[in-house]
Symmetry: D2
Subunit: 433 residues, 4 copies
Amino acid sequence: MSQSGSRTSVPDETPCVDTWLTRYRQVREASEAICRPLACEDYVIQSMPDVSPPKWHLAHVSWFFEAFLLKPFLPGYTPIDPAFDYLFNSYYETHGAPFPRALRGTMSRPTVAEVHAFRAHVDQAMTALLSEPPADAREEIMHRVELGLHHEQQHQELLVMDIKHILGMNPLHPVYRSDAARPSADAAGPQGWVDFPEGVRQIGRDPETGFTFDCETPRHRVYQAAFSLARRPVTNAEYMAFMADGGYERTELWLSDGWAARRSHGWTAPLYWSRHDGVWHHMTLGGLKPVDPDAPVCHVSFFEADAFARWAGARLPVEAEWEIAAQEYPVAGHFQGQGQYQPVAAAASDEALVQMYGDVWEWTASAFRPYPGFAPLPGTLGEYNGKFMSGQMVLRGGCCATPEHHVRDSYRNFFPPDARWAFSGLRLARDLT
Amino acid sequence: MSQSGSRTSVPDETPCVDTWLTRYRQVREASEAICRPLACEDYVIQSMPDVSPPKWHLAHVSWFFEAFLLKPFLPGYTPIDPAFDYLFNSYYETHGAPFPRALRGTMSRPTVAEVHAFRAHVDQAMTALLSEPPADAREEIMHRVELGLHHEQQHQELLVMDIKHILGMNPLHPVYRSDAARPSADAAGPQGWVDFPEGVRQIGRDPETGFTFDCETPRHRVYQAAFSLARRPVTNAEYMAFMADGGYERTELWLSDGWAARRSHGWTAPLYWSRHDGVWHHMTLGGLKPVDPDAPVCHVSFFEADAFARWAGARLPVEAEWEIAAQEYPVAGHFQGQGQYQPVAAAASDEALVQMYGDVWEWTASAFRPYPGFAPLPGTLGEYNGKFMSGQMVLRGGCCATPEHHVRDSYRNFFPPDARWAFSGLRLARDLT
Amino acid sequence: MSQSGSRTSVPDETPCVDTWLTRYRQVREASEAICRPLACEDYVIQSMPDVSPPKWHLAHVSWFFEAFLLKPFLPGYTPIDPAFDYLFNSYYETHGAPFPRALRGTMSRPTVAEVHAFRAHVDQAMTALLSEPPADAREEIMHRVELGLHHEQQHQELLVMDIKHILGMNPLHPVYRSDAARPSADAAGPQGWVDFPEGVRQIGRDPETGFTFDCETPRHRVYQAAFSLARRPVTNAEYMAFMADGGYERTELWLSDGWAARRSHGWTAPLYWSRHDGVWHHMTLGGLKPVDPDAPVCHVSFFEADAFARWAGARLPVEAEWEIAAQEYPVAGHFQGQGQYQPVAAAASDEALVQMYGDVWEWTASAFRPYPGFAPLPGTLGEYNGKFMSGQMVLRGGCCATPEHHVRDSYRNFFPPDARWAFSGLRLARDLT
Amino acid sequence: MSQSGSRTSVPDETPCVDTWLTRYRQVREASEAICRPLACEDYVIQSMPDVSPPKWHLAHVSWFFEAFLLKPFLPGYTPIDPAFDYLFNSYYETHGAPFPRALRGTMSRPTVAEVHAFRAHVDQAMTALLSEPPADAREEIMHRVELGLHHEQQHQELLVMDIKHILGMNPLHPVYRSDAARPSADAAGPQGWVDFPEGVRQIGRDPETGFTFDCETPRHRVYQAAFSLARRPVTNAEYMAFMADGGYERTELWLSDGWAARRSHGWTAPLYWSRHDGVWHHMTLGGLKPVDPDAPVCHVSFFEADAFARWAGARLPVEAEWEIAAQEYPVAGHFQGQGQYQPVAAAASDEALVQMYGDVWEWTASAFRPYPGFAPLPGTLGEYNGKFMSGQMVLRGGCCATPEHHVRDSYRNFFPPDARWAFSGLRLARDLT
């Protein structure tokens, strides 16, 4: 999700203060752990306009707590530097004009050390606030903390994506962690299909049942025709067959905008792929490695996913199809905690769908638009997701860079149709008639 | 519809040859009638990349008949100039790389007279083909003729839009027809709402029931929650209230992409509007005129329509809502034949929706994506609509520039969300809970 | 010269009123004669931003007389349309913001007929003014008329260049005049050199000696080292040898900006060249023709001329060298009046320089900067040449599209170093040591 | 000088090996001293395309020694990383395609520490080479070392300019050195003029007299008319008067390209200036400070300098004028060694020119073009200066960031006319008649 936001819920069993502090510390520490393998110089780079320097992420997620919690609710709170409010606002126009996104990579200051000092300053104040929250604002504070932590988790995934791009574009092929992108013991089996009957179903999420981003609401009815979903995501081997069959040169397979994007960007393979001695390799967070034919294809745009599906005589699923199918499975898979930072092959299953969660975000055929009855959050937080509901496509299921417990069946991620630096792949669908 | 295409049907009572010839001649003549008020110089201009020179339209619709009917089906057909096949292909990539769209306005030749000679050449050959169609291809020919005529009708509307832009951008305020944009006797009444119950409904169109563009198919079930639709489109007076209330300066009303479009284009009012002595005027095909407060607002982008709806505490309807409502009304309204070339006020109605058809295309909240079960036409004609299903929003209902009998309840027009040169307005919707 | 201007002189023998009227009519008629072979549609096209539609040229040169003569000096003069003052101002910022140059091709109105009516209106008023010029302004009027006529002659050459580009870019290869670009009977002989001694010399022009553009003044001393100048311009055959020797691929031959221009424009041959069945052809005003190996190479940029000279082990002359050499020759050669509209081969000469005037403008090594002591004209006319003295290179000698009697040894034309649509070629020079 | 190069000379009294080693070490150390105040993050930033990250400069000047000395002349030399040859080639196209300049700021690796290791590696090898240079290549080696050291000095000035831009664009106003930009005790006196007689003079430099960049050669005769030169550069007070008089709004003062640059960049003051509480401040390497009215104006483009001169009723000097005047003065002034990093006011002098050297580079009226008889260096080193001889203007005299002993009267610096990040100011000239 290139940006993010949410409507929170506080169920009856609101976690006690200690629980919140513990969660706060865990999430905050996780962000820093992601950055620990970096050199100081890596923190500063914006390798393309969509990427933000890692130190910007670290500061921005702290800005969120400062702007929406400490300033309104902690009496006597003093910012460490008033200019940070301008520098680390991402896009909240109603909060004040944000610093231009494309210039984030031109700022050497604050330094990495100063950003860490900012984090420590915020953490200290947040500890104070969470230890003794004012009684009359307790509920609102807990709502916002929960949102702030989910927000920081979203940026944890973005951090991994952006670090991969920063290192992946470098001609020296630097390695982030040498234990990343290890080979998998599993072999993807042959493709298969699982059928689903027609009917009126429910998708989306009721905030009363737990934390929910605004764009997932409200839970609502849809009529869904019968359909089939592929058992597993498309593999690198299958994608190489598409490439070998002229997939990137056959205009009839592509949407008009996709064909234009292919031409202007010069796409001939997924992002990070290059050929060495006749063998396809790709940059991973473990360095340059041969492409594993059995692993899910990754770093393809919506346009490439759509062209592949057409070539394969199938189509992408709409998000209702994906969600109806996902409702039957637990949220389990290869997430960030596993330390792979790269999708891997999974053993096939005769009956069930595999890899619905984790490994790769799956492009759907659905444009990111509001659900029937959608209402954004009030105030500045209302800019969370609603304002991005144009020009983007929905992806589902999380990926190898998503923090554990961050996704669910109703979770809607979104990117422009030509974006490729997310861990994005696809699963096929077809009509059942 | 910036481009177009279709799946045709030949019902049992296929029109006889004479009928087809008659329809062919009527449609062809209508295109030329639209251009008759033009000066020779007007035919050549491309006032922005989206606009095509009128002589290009006249030639391109003829190219369609040459490429898809005369060359495959008329033995011995000789093109008047082989280069026209390249020059007047609009976007059919599989037919051969088309001439770059942005350069259409750099071509003085063929001249207008030569384009008319091309039309006459095609018409003569089409008369021969339609008079004695080869028996074994008769059905396919009639399918394609029907598609070709609907295609030409789409370009008739585009011709009017493009002529308006060519003249409307000219600082001399030239008049297309002095009898266009006459004042209306009617006064728009106060806004009101019509309610619709929830339920599983059917939208889309079965090609067996008559001519259908591919993107309207198949007819399919949707679950629709209860909703209200505004009785009439938003008027200029209402839109001016939005402007007066800072609508163009309040970031919280806009989608993020819309806000960026507003800023980069410098929008402060609908296209063609300018202020003279404190009074809003706009260019019409009848020249520069004061804005009629009671007429539907027109020449606004999706982003402006969406911002207006948010300001009004409402939203745009999704296309299913619009279509369900429209199914109850006959296709009647102010179309091109009326000679207004400008939306006009309509008398209010206490009970019923008014102006569902004609006057202004109504932006919906729906992205232009395929219906469940959609399949494009085979071959080159498959490029008709399917390939444009990204980055565009759906509009419904036709406008004052649409040829009579060209639209229907299931008709899906589409434009990018920042397009303003179509006769595009809006009707509000809201949830009913 | 992409723009132009001048300081005039009225020698004692000021021409009488009749003479001025006659000259006025001759020059005005010559502009219309150039346009007579055009179709109405050709008048409207702007085939690239540097090109102006022919009808714009016809109106702009008339605007000059209206703005600088009729309005200030003819009592009771009424413009035919006040908006023309804005539309047809080319670049005189101090006269009011001009209409954006890049949009000239978006204006269908005024029509060609209306532009001719504007010309007739101006001509009638000018006849009145020139028949009885007010005594107290007589000298200033004659100065400005002279400038206006030279200005119109400059636009006559631009008209030919722009018409060539409008037709030359058209895939249909339209012919302007079938008698243009006829083959020459002459064969260029082998290249040779003429030597010139060192010394302090004078270049530039004293306005007292006749009409002079401001940028030619003042006449001034220069020290010039000894040098050699090639007897004739570089031929197409010689340029093809450069191409065959990898001239367009060898970075060491090019200026850094030239190499970037070559890459971004994809240059591999002069403008208008294309290969058919292995033979180089080029568009001429007589249509598509095989390249004549003996004719001077034409439609090359400064960057290409400079690279060719380096490849040939020579260099381009500085403008002082060219002018010192030209001072010894009469102003004679192939100009526009000859009706060729294309450079042709000239017979060699053992001793003398040939083709110093006419055929092709010759790129020099000199940037277009003011001469020592240069002072622009006062007032708005001061924008004539001085403001263009950055980013342009000087060309000398006139070409096949230059009106007879328009150039002289001191005449300085100028274009940006990547311009190719002028009739621009080159003559080599080298040091003599 | 945005790029640089030279023809070296080895006078009879060639320095002995020890001398060369000493100079090598001094120059190399000076580069590192410039960077010592930087934070690690500052080394990585490319704040605009013209700027290079400091670590890139440190590596590139080392690449020069590796490519042109160690690889050809030190047997057994092993590069520390073969990829550096590609990454740190600046623009030598004939040496292999260089890494795209605009992407230099996207490279976090090699890290600063790795760049320092690269420098140490090169220094060790250079010490070996210079300690025992092969007898047969001794002269060529000394030539190239001398060029390499002057090249590194050029980059020392670029380092200061680029560091200023990196810090100067940062909204936090970081300070490079707190002792920089100290106030001056001197007050600029009133402007005055010094006259020079006409005559044939010599400018340029004979390489036999000492190290010379190629573009300064050959020494050659020019005829120079009589002229006056202003005693001192234009001050901030004078420039503020130009601004107060509408200098940035009066189109008649500007070259056409300059007016367009002013508009597109939104210039209203020199680079780094901003107004606080009604007082003009500017970013310096000592932080944000009030503008000193007596100091020379700095960070203006050629276009601004040219407009100022026109406003002042004067003009910029051509480079021959500047050089003829400078020949009478010793090379002395405020250079980098003084530690100001900012131009300062100098005491007036009744008779003499002041501040011809140091403080600010002075824009001249001369385009950067080759001198008569100029020949570039052979081979790849021939790309040194000659290839940049288009589209740039000459500046003279050195500035507060120029290393001591690096400039001389014949030294030609050059920048595009819209560049402002050099320490560039101006001195007025006028005709003497």
